[in-house]
Point group: C2
Protein backbone atom coordinates (compact mmCIF):
# COMPACT_ATOMS: atom_id res chain seq x y z
CA UNK A 1 0.00 0.00 0.00
CA UNK A 2 2.69 2.47 1.06
CA UNK A 3 4.86 1.38 -1.86
CA UNK A 4 2.06 2.11 -4.28
CA UNK A 5 1.63 5.57 -2.84
CA UNK A 6 5.32 6.36 -3.27
CA UNK A 7 5.21 5.34 -6.91
CA UNK A 8 2.21 7.52 -7.57
CA UNK A 9 4.08 10.70 -6.60
CA UNK A 10 5.69 12.09 -9.71
CA UNK A 11 9.08 13.76 -9.23
CA UNK A 12 11.04 16.34 -11.16
CA UNK A 13 13.85 14.81 -13.15
CA UNK A 14 17.30 16.00 -12.11
CA UNK A 15 20.99 15.39 -12.68
CA UNK A 16 23.61 15.18 -9.95
CA UNK A 17 26.34 17.83 -9.99
CA UNK A 18 29.93 17.29 -8.81
CA UNK A 19 29.39 19.04 -5.48
CA UNK A 20 26.71 16.80 -3.94
CA UNK A 21 23.84 18.81 -5.36
CA UNK A 22 21.31 18.39 -8.16
CA UNK A 23 20.40 20.37 -11.26
CA UNK A 24 16.82 20.46 -12.54
CA UNK A 25 16.12 21.60 -16.07
CA UNK A 26 12.49 22.34 -16.83
CA UNK A 27 12.11 21.66 -20.51
CA UNK A 28 8.42 20.80 -20.90
CA UNK A 29 5.55 23.10 -19.90
CA UNK A 30 4.20 22.32 -16.41
CA UNK A 31 0.96 23.68 -15.02
CA UNK A 32 1.76 26.14 -12.25
CA UNK A 33 -0.97 24.54 -10.13
CA UNK A 34 0.63 21.09 -10.33
CA UNK A 35 4.23 22.27 -10.01
CA UNK A 36 4.32 23.05 -6.24
CA UNK A 37 3.42 19.48 -5.23
CA UNK A 38 5.95 18.06 -7.72
CA UNK A 39 8.64 20.36 -6.35
CA UNK A 40 7.80 19.60 -2.71
CA UNK A 41 7.90 15.85 -3.26
CA UNK A 42 11.22 16.19 -5.10
CA UNK A 43 12.77 18.32 -2.35
CA UNK A 44 11.69 15.77 0.19
CA UNK A 45 13.44 13.03 -1.78
CA UNK A 46 16.62 15.10 -2.29
CA UNK A 47 16.73 15.78 1.46
CA UNK A 48 16.49 12.06 2.17
CA UNK A 49 19.32 11.48 -0.27
CA UNK A 50 21.47 14.07 1.55
CA UNK A 51 21.67 16.42 -1.44
CA UNK A 52 23.12 19.88 -0.83
CA UNK A 53 22.43 22.61 -3.40
CA UNK A 54 19.41 22.31 -5.69
CA UNK A 55 19.60 24.33 -8.92
CA UNK A 56 16.49 24.93 -11.00
CA UNK A 57 17.00 26.35 -14.47
CA UNK A 58 13.78 27.91 -15.75
CA UNK A 59 13.75 28.91 -19.42
CA UNK A 60 11.84 32.18 -19.88
CA UNK A 61 8.97 30.25 -21.53
CA UNK A 62 8.34 28.75 -18.10
CA UNK A 63 8.13 32.06 -16.23
CA UNK A 64 4.83 30.75 -14.86
CA UNK A 65 6.83 28.58 -12.41
CA UNK A 66 8.99 31.34 -10.87
CA UNK A 67 6.54 32.33 -8.15
CA UNK A 68 5.96 28.75 -6.98
CA UNK A 69 9.70 28.03 -6.91
CA UNK A 70 10.37 31.12 -4.78
CA UNK A 71 7.54 30.11 -2.42
CA UNK A 72 9.30 26.79 -1.81
CA UNK A 73 12.34 28.65 -0.46
CA UNK A 74 14.46 29.14 -3.56
CA UNK A 75 16.37 32.38 -4.23
CA UNK A 76 17.56 33.80 -7.52
CA UNK A 77 21.13 32.95 -8.50
CA UNK A 78 21.57 34.54 -11.91
CA UNK A 79 19.67 35.23 -15.10
CA UNK A 80 20.46 35.44 -18.77
CA UNK A 81 18.06 36.85 -21.39
CA UNK A 82 16.46 33.44 -21.92
CA UNK A 83 16.50 31.77 -18.51
CA UNK A 84 16.45 32.28 -14.76
CA UNK A 85 18.53 30.13 -12.41
CA UNK A 86 17.17 29.58 -8.92
CA UNK A 87 18.95 27.82 -6.10
CA UNK A 88 18.21 26.40 -2.66
CA UNK A 89 20.64 24.98 -0.08
CA UNK A 90 19.04 22.01 1.67
CA UNK A 91 21.33 20.97 4.57
CA UNK A 92 21.76 22.66 7.94
CA UNK A 93 25.47 23.23 7.17
CA UNK A 94 26.84 26.54 5.87
CA UNK A 95 25.66 27.43 2.36
CA UNK A 96 28.56 27.09 -0.11
CA UNK A 97 26.67 28.13 -3.25
CA UNK A 98 29.21 29.98 -5.43
CA UNK A 99 28.76 33.66 -6.20
CA UNK A 100 27.30 34.93 -9.44
CA UNK A 101 29.47 36.66 -12.06
CA UNK A 102 30.48 40.04 -10.64
CA UNK A 103 32.42 41.83 -13.38
CA UNK A 104 32.02 43.19 -16.84
CA UNK A 105 35.21 43.33 -18.87
CA UNK A 106 36.09 46.13 -21.25
CA UNK A 107 39.00 46.93 -23.52
CA UNK A 108 40.61 50.17 -24.62
CA UNK A 109 43.06 49.96 -27.52
CA UNK A 110 46.27 51.91 -28.02
CA UNK A 111 47.10 51.61 -31.74
CA UNK A 112 50.14 53.59 -32.98
CA UNK A 113 51.58 53.87 -36.48
CA UNK A 114 55.24 54.42 -37.42
CA UNK A 115 54.77 58.22 -37.38
CA UNK A 116 53.92 58.05 -33.67
CA UNK A 117 50.27 58.80 -34.39
CA UNK A 118 47.58 57.04 -32.38
CA UNK A 119 44.19 55.89 -33.61
CA UNK A 120 41.47 57.91 -31.87
CA UNK A 121 37.69 58.25 -32.12
CA UNK A 122 34.84 60.47 -31.03
CA UNK A 123 31.69 58.64 -29.96
CA UNK A 124 28.13 59.54 -30.97
CA UNK A 125 26.65 58.83 -27.54
CA UNK A 126 27.91 58.21 -24.02
CA UNK A 127 29.64 60.49 -21.57
CA UNK A 128 32.15 61.92 -24.07
CA UNK A 129 29.43 62.97 -26.53
CA UNK A 130 29.96 66.55 -27.69
CA UNK A 131 33.05 67.09 -25.51
CA UNK A 132 35.50 67.12 -28.42
CA UNK A 133 37.65 64.57 -26.57
CA UNK A 134 39.53 62.14 -28.80
CA UNK A 135 39.75 58.74 -27.14
CA UNK A 136 41.01 55.24 -27.82
CA UNK A 137 38.53 52.80 -29.35
CA UNK A 138 36.84 50.96 -26.48
CA UNK A 139 34.25 48.23 -26.07
CA UNK A 140 32.77 45.50 -23.93
CA UNK A 141 34.03 41.92 -24.17
CA UNK A 142 31.36 39.49 -25.36
CA UNK A 143 30.42 36.39 -23.43
CA UNK A 144 33.09 33.74 -23.93
CA UNK A 145 35.41 36.09 -25.83
CA UNK A 146 39.12 36.48 -25.06
CA UNK A 147 39.76 40.13 -24.44
CA UNK A 148 42.80 40.08 -26.74
CA UNK A 149 40.32 39.11 -29.49
CA UNK A 150 37.77 41.70 -28.35
CA UNK A 151 40.33 44.51 -28.62
CA UNK A 152 41.06 43.60 -32.25
CA UNK A 153 37.33 43.27 -33.04
CA UNK A 154 36.41 46.65 -31.53
CA UNK A 155 39.17 48.51 -33.40
CA UNK A 156 38.07 46.90 -36.66
CA UNK A 157 34.38 47.62 -36.03
CA UNK A 158 34.93 51.26 -35.10
CA UNK A 159 37.67 52.27 -37.54
CA UNK A 160 38.15 49.55 -40.16
CA UNK A 161 41.78 49.12 -39.10
CA UNK A 162 43.16 45.56 -38.87
CA UNK A 163 45.52 44.98 -35.97
CA UNK A 164 47.51 42.38 -34.11
CA UNK A 165 47.60 42.14 -30.35
CA UNK A 166 50.87 43.12 -28.66
CA UNK A 167 50.45 43.59 -24.91
CA UNK A 168 48.24 44.55 -22.00
CA UNK A 169 49.76 47.83 -20.79
CA UNK A 170 47.61 48.33 -17.71
CA UNK A 171 44.19 47.59 -16.29
CA UNK A 172 41.75 49.17 -13.92
CA UNK A 173 39.17 47.64 -11.58
CA UNK A 174 36.20 49.85 -10.66
CA UNK A 175 33.00 49.24 -8.74
CA UNK A 176 29.29 50.05 -8.93
CA UNK A 177 29.76 50.88 -12.58
CA UNK A 178 26.62 49.13 -13.74
CA UNK A 179 23.94 48.27 -11.19
CA UNK A 180 25.91 46.68 -8.35
CA UNK A 181 28.50 45.19 -10.69
CA UNK A 182 32.21 45.92 -11.11
CA UNK A 183 34.27 46.60 -14.17
CA UNK A 184 37.70 45.52 -15.36
CA UNK A 185 39.10 47.65 -18.17
CA UNK A 186 42.20 46.37 -19.97
CA UNK A 187 44.33 48.92 -21.84
CA UNK A 188 45.89 47.00 -24.72
CA UNK A 189 48.55 47.85 -27.27
CA UNK A 190 47.79 46.71 -30.82
CA UNK A 191 49.89 46.99 -33.94
CA UNK A 192 48.09 48.29 -37.04
CA UNK A 193 48.26 46.29 -40.27
CA UNK A 194 46.60 48.91 -42.48
CA UNK A 195 46.19 52.65 -42.13
CA UNK A 196 43.15 53.81 -44.10
CA UNK A 197 40.38 54.57 -41.67
CA UNK A 198 36.85 53.52 -42.57
CA UNK A 199 34.72 55.02 -39.85
CA UNK A 200 31.84 52.90 -38.67
CA UNK A 201 28.73 55.05 -38.59
CA UNK A 202 26.55 53.66 -35.83
CA UNK A 203 28.60 54.43 -32.74
CA UNK A 204 31.40 56.65 -34.02
CA UNK A 205 31.18 60.34 -34.87
CA UNK A 206 34.75 60.63 -36.17
CA UNK A 207 38.03 58.67 -36.28
CA UNK A 208 41.57 59.78 -37.13
CA UNK A 209 45.29 59.34 -36.54
CA UNK A 210 46.58 61.89 -34.01
CA UNK A 211 50.17 62.63 -32.89
CA UNK A 212 50.63 60.87 -29.53
CA UNK A 213 51.86 64.06 -27.86
CA UNK A 214 48.66 65.85 -28.94
CA UNK A 215 46.58 62.97 -27.62
CA UNK A 216 48.27 63.12 -24.22
CA UNK A 217 48.10 66.93 -24.09
CA UNK A 218 44.28 67.08 -24.41
CA UNK A 219 42.97 69.02 -21.40
CA UNK A 220 40.70 66.11 -20.49
CA UNK A 221 43.65 63.70 -20.32
CA UNK A 222 45.58 66.17 -18.21
CA UNK A 223 42.77 66.66 -15.74
CA UNK A 224 41.47 63.13 -15.26
CA UNK A 225 43.93 61.17 -13.13
CA UNK A 226 43.27 57.80 -14.73
CA UNK A 227 43.49 59.08 -18.32
CA UNK A 228 46.61 61.00 -17.43
CA UNK A 229 48.36 57.85 -16.19
CA UNK A 230 47.22 55.83 -19.17
CA UNK A 231 48.51 58.54 -21.55
CA UNK A 232 51.87 58.48 -19.73
CA UNK A 233 52.11 54.72 -19.94
CA UNK A 234 51.38 54.86 -23.67
CA UNK A 235 53.96 57.63 -24.18
CA UNK A 236 56.50 55.55 -22.27
CA UNK A 237 55.60 52.52 -24.41
CA UNK A 238 55.94 54.60 -27.61
CA UNK A 239 59.50 55.36 -26.54
CA UNK A 240 60.11 51.63 -25.90
CA UNK A 241 60.57 52.23 -22.16
CA UNK A 242 57.76 50.07 -20.94
CA UNK A 243 56.91 46.36 -20.75
CA UNK A 244 53.37 45.12 -20.31
CA UNK A 245 51.91 41.62 -20.13
CA UNK A 246 51.75 39.52 -23.27
CA UNK A 247 49.38 36.61 -23.84
CA UNK A 248 50.40 32.97 -24.05
CA UNK A 249 47.91 30.24 -25.01
CA UNK A 250 47.93 27.40 -22.47
CA UNK A 251 46.00 24.15 -22.62
CA UNK A 252 44.38 22.54 -19.59
CA UNK A 253 44.17 18.82 -18.90
CA UNK A 254 40.68 18.78 -20.43
CA UNK A 255 41.96 20.41 -23.63
CA UNK A 256 40.51 23.89 -23.05
CA UNK A 257 42.73 26.74 -24.26
CA UNK A 258 43.06 29.80 -22.06
CA UNK A 259 45.41 32.76 -22.19
CA UNK A 260 47.93 33.55 -19.48
CA UNK A 261 49.13 37.18 -19.55
CA UNK A 262 52.52 38.02 -18.03
CA UNK A 263 55.75 39.97 -18.44
CA UNK A 264 57.75 37.87 -20.87
CA UNK A 265 60.54 40.41 -21.42
CA UNK A 266 62.28 40.79 -18.08
CA UNK A 267 65.93 39.65 -18.21
CA UNK A 268 65.39 36.14 -19.44
CA UNK A 269 62.28 35.44 -21.42
CA UNK A 270 60.26 32.83 -19.57
CA UNK A 271 59.01 31.49 -22.86
CA UNK A 272 61.41 31.11 -25.79
CA UNK A 273 60.66 32.52 -29.21
CA UNK A 274 59.40 29.18 -30.52
CA UNK A 275 56.92 29.18 -27.62
CA UNK A 276 58.74 26.44 -25.72
CA UNK A 277 58.83 27.07 -22.00
CA UNK A 278 62.30 27.26 -20.49
CA UNK A 279 63.17 24.47 -18.09
CA UNK A 280 62.86 25.39 -14.42
CA UNK B 1 -14.54 62.99 -21.18
CA UNK B 2 -11.40 61.68 -22.82
CA UNK B 3 -9.31 63.61 -20.32
CA UNK B 4 -11.15 61.96 -17.45
CA UNK B 5 -10.51 58.55 -18.93
CA UNK B 6 -6.78 59.21 -19.18
CA UNK B 7 -6.61 60.28 -15.57
CA UNK B 8 -8.41 57.16 -14.41
CA UNK B 9 -5.69 54.87 -15.79
CA UNK B 10 -3.12 54.29 -13.07
CA UNK B 11 0.50 54.05 -14.22
CA UNK B 12 3.64 52.47 -12.76
CA UNK B 13 5.96 55.05 -11.25
CA UNK B 14 9.33 55.23 -12.97
CA UNK B 15 12.56 57.24 -13.06
CA UNK B 16 14.35 58.32 -16.20
CA UNK B 17 17.84 56.92 -16.78
CA UNK B 18 20.67 58.79 -18.57
CA UNK B 19 20.22 56.84 -21.81
CA UNK B 20 16.68 57.80 -22.74
CA UNK B 21 15.09 54.90 -20.90
CA UNK B 22 13.16 54.41 -17.66
CA UNK B 23 13.67 52.35 -14.53
CA UNK B 24 10.70 50.94 -12.63
CA UNK B 25 11.16 49.75 -9.07
CA UNK B 26 8.29 47.71 -7.69
CA UNK B 27 8.34 48.31 -3.97
CA UNK B 28 4.74 47.71 -2.90
CA UNK B 29 2.84 44.46 -3.44
CA UNK B 30 0.69 44.52 -6.59
CA UNK B 31 -1.98 41.98 -7.41
CA UNK B 32 -0.81 39.91 -10.38
CA UNK B 33 -4.31 40.25 -11.90
CA UNK B 34 -4.14 44.07 -11.88
CA UNK B 35 -0.48 44.35 -12.88
CA UNK B 36 -0.81 43.53 -16.64
CA UNK B 37 -3.15 46.45 -17.33
CA UNK B 38 -0.95 48.82 -15.29
CA UNK B 39 2.12 47.68 -17.22
CA UNK B 40 0.38 47.93 -20.61
CA UNK B 41 -0.85 51.47 -19.94
CA UNK B 42 2.62 52.49 -18.75
CA UNK B 43 4.33 51.00 -21.81
CA UNK B 44 1.92 52.87 -24.02
CA UNK B 45 2.82 56.14 -22.30
CA UNK B 46 6.58 55.45 -22.47
CA UNK B 47 6.25 54.74 -26.19
CA UNK B 48 4.49 58.06 -26.72
CA UNK B 49 7.30 59.76 -24.80
CA UNK B 50 9.88 58.13 -27.06
CA UNK B 51 11.51 56.14 -24.26
CA UNK B 52 14.04 53.46 -25.27
CA UNK B 53 14.92 50.77 -22.72
CA UNK B 54 12.49 49.97 -19.91
CA UNK B 55 14.02 48.32 -16.84
CA UNK B 56 11.82 46.63 -14.24
CA UNK B 57 13.47 45.64 -10.98
CA UNK B 58 11.38 43.03 -9.20
CA UNK B 59 12.40 42.22 -5.63
CA UNK B 60 12.00 38.48 -4.94
CA UNK B 61 8.96 39.22 -2.72
CA UNK B 62 7.18 40.24 -5.92
CA UNK B 63 7.92 37.05 -7.84
CA UNK B 64 4.19 36.94 -8.54
CA UNK B 65 4.74 39.60 -11.24
CA UNK B 66 7.45 37.83 -13.25
CA UNK B 67 5.12 35.87 -15.52
CA UNK B 68 3.01 38.92 -16.42
CA UNK B 69 6.12 41.02 -17.15
CA UNK B 70 7.50 38.35 -19.48
CA UNK B 71 4.13 38.10 -21.23
CA UNK B 72 4.34 41.83 -22.03
CA UNK B 73 7.56 41.23 -23.99
CA UNK B 74 10.24 41.70 -21.34
CA UNK B 75 13.31 39.48 -21.16
CA UNK B 76 15.55 38.74 -18.18
CA UNK B 77 18.63 40.93 -17.85
CA UNK B 78 20.27 39.77 -14.62
CA UNK B 79 19.38 38.49 -11.18
CA UNK B 80 20.86 38.74 -7.73
CA UNK B 81 19.70 36.62 -4.76
CA UNK B 82 17.04 39.17 -3.81
CA UNK B 83 15.83 40.59 -7.11
CA UNK B 84 15.28 39.97 -10.81
CA UNK B 85 15.92 42.67 -13.42
CA UNK B 86 13.83 42.52 -16.59
CA UNK B 87 14.26 44.72 -19.62
CA UNK B 88 12.41 45.62 -22.81
CA UNK B 89 13.61 47.78 -25.73
CA UNK B 90 10.69 49.85 -27.04
CA UNK B 91 11.81 51.58 -30.29
CA UNK B 92 12.26 50.06 -33.71
CA UNK B 93 15.97 50.99 -33.67
CA UNK B 94 18.72 48.52 -32.76
CA UNK B 95 18.64 47.37 -29.15
CA UNK B 96 21.59 48.86 -27.23
CA UNK B 97 20.84 47.30 -23.84
CA UNK B 98 24.24 46.65 -22.22
CA UNK B 99 25.40 43.11 -21.52
CA UNK B 100 25.14 41.49 -18.12
CA UNK B 101 28.24 40.83 -15.99
CA UNK B 102 30.21 38.08 -17.68
CA UNK B 103 33.15 37.27 -15.43
CA UNK B 104 33.95 36.00 -11.99
CA UNK B 105 37.27 37.19 -10.59
CA UNK B 106 39.55 35.02 -8.50
CA UNK B 107 42.91 35.51 -6.83
CA UNK B 108 45.82 33.18 -6.16
CA UNK B 109 48.48 34.44 -3.75
CA UNK B 110 52.23 33.90 -3.91
CA UNK B 111 53.54 34.64 -0.39
CA UNK B 112 57.27 34.03 0.21
CA UNK B 113 59.33 34.45 3.39
CA UNK B 114 63.02 35.41 3.63
CA UNK B 115 64.05 31.72 3.54
CA UNK B 116 62.54 31.43 0.04
CA UNK B 117 59.67 29.34 1.37
CA UNK B 118 56.17 29.84 -0.04
CA UNK B 119 52.90 29.64 1.83
CA UNK B 120 50.90 26.65 0.53
CA UNK B 121 47.67 24.89 1.44
CA UNK B 122 45.75 21.69 0.80
CA UNK B 123 42.00 22.12 0.40
CA UNK B 124 39.32 19.96 2.00
CA UNK B 125 37.10 19.90 -1.10
CA UNK B 126 37.38 20.83 -4.75
CA UNK B 127 39.37 19.31 -7.57
CA UNK B 128 42.63 19.05 -5.62
CA UNK B 129 41.03 17.13 -2.74
CA UNK B 130 43.08 14.07 -1.84
CA UNK B 131 45.70 14.67 -4.55
CA UNK B 132 48.43 15.72 -2.13
CA UNK B 133 49.09 18.82 -4.24
CA UNK B 134 50.23 21.88 -2.30
CA UNK B 135 48.84 25.03 -3.85
CA UNK B 136 48.74 28.79 -3.28
CA UNK B 137 45.82 30.13 -1.23
CA UNK B 138 43.06 31.07 -3.68
CA UNK B 139 39.59 32.53 -3.52
CA UNK B 140 36.81 34.42 -5.24
CA UNK B 141 36.61 38.22 -5.10
CA UNK B 142 33.46 39.47 -3.36
CA UNK B 143 31.06 41.90 -4.97
CA UNK B 144 32.53 45.40 -4.86
CA UNK B 145 35.88 44.18 -3.50
CA UNK B 146 39.25 45.25 -4.94
CA UNK B 147 41.14 42.11 -5.80
CA UNK B 148 44.27 43.41 -4.08
CA UNK B 149 42.15 43.43 -0.90
CA UNK B 150 40.64 40.04 -1.67
CA UNK B 151 44.09 38.43 -1.96
CA UNK B 152 45.06 39.69 1.52
CA UNK B 153 41.71 38.56 2.97
CA UNK B 154 41.91 35.05 1.52
CA UNK B 155 45.46 34.48 2.79
CA UNK B 156 44.43 35.67 6.26
CA UNK B 157 41.28 33.52 6.27
CA UNK B 158 43.01 30.37 5.12
CA UNK B 159 46.31 30.58 6.98
CA UNK B 160 46.15 33.38 9.58
CA UNK B 161 49.10 35.13 7.90
CA UNK B 162 48.93 38.94 7.56
CA UNK B 163 50.31 40.28 4.30
CA UNK B 164 50.78 43.37 2.23
CA UNK B 165 50.08 43.51 -1.48
CA UNK B 166 53.10 43.79 -3.79
CA UNK B 167 52.22 43.07 -7.41
CA UNK B 168 50.07 41.23 -9.91
CA UNK B 169 52.49 38.75 -11.48
CA UNK B 170 50.18 37.34 -14.15
CA UNK B 171 46.55 36.66 -14.90
CA UNK B 172 44.53 34.16 -16.83
CA UNK B 173 41.19 34.47 -18.61
CA UNK B 174 39.20 31.26 -19.06
CA UNK B 175 35.72 30.52 -20.35
CA UNK B 176 32.73 28.34 -19.52
CA UNK B 177 34.12 27.89 -16.04
CA UNK B 178 30.80 28.31 -14.28
CA UNK B 179 27.57 27.95 -16.27
CA UNK B 180 28.24 30.10 -19.34
CA UNK B 181 30.42 32.59 -17.46
CA UNK B 182 34.14 33.35 -17.76
CA UNK B 183 36.81 33.64 -15.15
CA UNK B 184 39.73 36.00 -14.57
CA UNK B 185 42.33 34.68 -12.13
CA UNK B 186 44.95 37.14 -10.88
CA UNK B 187 48.20 35.68 -9.51
CA UNK B 188 49.39 38.16 -6.89
CA UNK B 189 52.58 38.50 -4.89
CA UNK B 190 52.09 39.38 -1.24
CA UNK B 191 54.70 40.04 1.45
CA UNK B 192 54.12 38.26 4.77
CA UNK B 193 54.07 40.28 8.00
CA UNK B 194 53.98 37.31 10.37
CA UNK B 195 55.00 33.70 9.95
CA UNK B 196 53.05 31.52 12.40
CA UNK B 197 50.39 29.68 10.48
CA UNK B 198 46.96 29.29 12.03
CA UNK B 199 45.15 26.99 9.69
CA UNK B 200 41.51 27.79 9.11
CA UNK B 201 39.49 24.59 9.51
CA UNK B 202 36.49 24.93 7.25
CA UNK B 203 38.10 24.91 3.81
CA UNK B 204 41.70 24.01 4.49
CA UNK B 205 43.10 20.54 5.24
CA UNK B 206 46.66 21.72 5.88
CA UNK B 207 48.88 24.78 5.45
CA UNK B 208 52.68 25.16 5.61
CA UNK B 209 55.77 27.00 4.38
CA UNK B 210 57.46 25.03 1.56
CA UNK B 211 60.77 25.73 -0.22
CA UNK B 212 59.92 27.39 -3.53
CA UNK B 213 61.95 24.86 -5.53
CA UNK B 214 59.95 22.00 -3.95
CA UNK B 215 56.71 23.82 -4.76
CA UNK B 216 57.70 24.20 -8.41
CA UNK B 217 58.98 20.63 -8.64
CA UNK B 218 55.65 19.02 -7.63
CA UNK B 219 54.70 16.61 -10.44
CA UNK B 220 51.34 18.37 -10.82
CA UNK B 221 53.02 21.72 -11.44
CA UNK B 222 55.36 20.11 -13.95
CA UNK B 223 52.56 18.48 -15.88
CA UNK B 224 49.92 21.23 -16.00
CA UNK B 225 51.01 23.91 -18.47
CA UNK B 226 49.40 26.81 -16.64
CA UNK B 227 50.74 25.86 -13.20
CA UNK B 228 54.13 25.26 -14.72
CA UNK B 229 54.28 28.80 -16.12
CA UNK B 230 53.01 30.33 -12.91
CA UNK B 231 55.64 28.43 -10.91
CA UNK B 232 58.34 29.70 -13.31
CA UNK B 233 57.13 33.29 -13.01
CA UNK B 234 57.21 33.01 -9.21
CA UNK B 235 60.69 31.48 -9.29
CA UNK B 236 61.85 34.30 -11.53
CA UNK B 237 60.26 36.83 -9.17
CA UNK B 238 61.92 35.17 -6.16
CA UNK B 239 65.26 35.79 -7.89
CA UNK B 240 64.27 39.43 -8.51
CA UNK B 241 64.23 38.93 -12.28
CA UNK B 242 60.62 39.81 -12.88
CA UNK B 243 58.38 42.88 -12.77
CA UNK B 244 54.61 42.63 -12.50
CA UNK B 245 51.91 45.28 -12.29
CA UNK B 246 51.53 47.28 -9.09
CA UNK B 247 48.34 49.06 -7.99
CA UNK B 248 47.89 52.82 -7.82
CA UNK B 249 44.76 54.38 -6.35
CA UNK B 250 43.24 56.91 -8.75
CA UNK B 251 40.26 59.17 -8.14
CA UNK B 252 37.62 59.89 -10.77
CA UNK B 253 35.88 63.22 -11.26
CA UNK B 254 32.97 61.96 -9.14
CA UNK B 255 35.36 61.09 -6.29
CA UNK B 256 35.28 57.29 -6.71
CA UNK B 257 38.62 55.58 -6.02
CA UNK B 258 39.70 52.81 -8.35
CA UNK B 259 42.98 50.99 -8.75
CA UNK B 260 45.07 51.15 -11.91
CA UNK B 261 47.58 48.28 -12.19
CA UNK B 262 50.68 48.76 -14.33
CA UNK B 263 54.43 48.25 -14.58
CA UNK B 264 55.87 51.04 -12.47
CA UNK B 265 59.48 49.78 -12.54
CA UNK B 266 60.59 50.01 -16.15
CA UNK B 267 63.47 52.46 -16.65
CA UNK B 268 61.85 55.52 -15.17
CA UNK B 269 59.12 54.99 -12.65
CA UNK B 270 55.95 56.56 -14.00
CA UNK B 271 54.89 57.43 -10.49
CA UNK B 272 57.46 58.82 -8.05
CA UNK B 273 57.95 57.32 -4.61
CA UNK B 274 55.73 59.96 -2.98
CA UNK B 275 52.98 58.89 -5.40
CA UNK B 276 53.15 62.05 -7.47
CA UNK B 277 52.80 61.39 -11.18
CA UNK B 278 55.72 62.52 -13.31
CA UNK B 279 54.96 65.32 -15.71
CA UNK B 280 54.43 64.27 -19.32
Amino acid sequence: MSENRVEQVELLSSDNDSYGGVVVKIEQPIDSKIFPSLLRASISQWRQQGKTGVWIKLPIEHANLVEATVKEGFRYHHAEPDYLMLVCWLPETADTIPLNASHRVGVGSFVMNSKREVLVVQEISGKFKGTGVWKFPTGVVNEGEDFCTAAIREVKEETGIDTEFVEVLAFRQSHKSFFSKSDLLFICMLKPRNFDIEKQNLEIEAAKWMPIEDYAAQPFNQKQELFNYVAKICLSKSEKNYTGFSPLATTTGSGKVSYLYFNNQDNNHLVTSDNQPLKV
